[in-house]
Symmetry: C2
Subunit: 126 residues, 2 copies
DNA sequence: ACCTTGATTCGACGCCTGTCAATACAGCGA
DNA sequence: TCGCTGTATTGACAGGCGTCGAATCAAGGT
């Protein structure tokens, strides 16, 4: 490979003066911010990807084998393609364990979206 | 016109057993739910649209004239095209007042996304 | 009436994306 | 070693999307 394999996550850790996802409703976004944020939305803008992401996110243990989530109405290669996109967008991570490959939601992803939507509820915001 | 002009908003009012956007991280999405939710993300998956939306959302008074937000680096027809998409996605509403057209964020949009991301209960997962 | 300015629509172009069948790759078991 | 199952990649196709220039519509001012 040499292609982009997992971009910088659109959010920092937490409690940081993040350069990425300033609240969408609380100020104008810069060009760069808009591109990063849009990329995140884009990854979730396909029904198949959304279902895959949802299945992983809601799977007990926080991770799911491809074989567990592949039933979304499209061919196996297409599933693999979408999972790759989600990986490249920084939303999912994958790990091969023996025969199967397991996916899990990348840390801080949901928190990133929360921050971007200006919902300060989640964090221990002091 | 006769085309689709503003779809059903992806969320209900609030505190409703909504048919649309069940928390993305708390269960698998149905085909229909995934399509609706994906459509909302899709509308925001373009940097230009994101900036336009952001500009409207952050504008004092909650509304903005096209002339105020049109400076996003693309031609004016393209701006209009993107605003139309945001309108059709149910994210923005428009109103002509004299010479200018004013846009504002459709009610409950951000709240819809919040609900969908299952924020509100970050720590206490139980 | 006319012209000027703001905004939308039209038509066309190139790029990007979702999809599949076919193929390749990775582990495991016999 | 061979074959089998699970996953990823390749190559190709149709359709969708973002963009623009030009034309059109809408209000106001002169």
């Amino acid at each position: 490979m040499s292609k982009s394999e997992a971009v910088e996550l659109p959010l920092r850790r937490d409690g940081d003066a993040v350069p990425c996802c300033p609240p969408i409703t609380a100020g104008e976004l810069s060009q760069a911010d808009a591109e990063r944020t849009a990329a995140m939305f884009k990854a979730l803008s396909d029904p198949v990807r959304l279902r895959l992401f949802s299945k992983v996110a809601s799977h007990p243990g926080g991770e799911a084998c491809v074989c567990d989530i592949a039933d979304v109405g499209v061919s196996q290669p297409t599933v693999s393609h979408h999972l790759k996109k989600l990986r490249e967008a920084g939303l999912l991570t994958s790990e091969r364990r023996g025969t199967w490959v397991y996916y899990r939601v990348a840390p801080s992803v949901v928190a990133a979206m929360a921050a971007m939507l200006d919902l300060r509820a989640p964090g221990p915001r002091a």
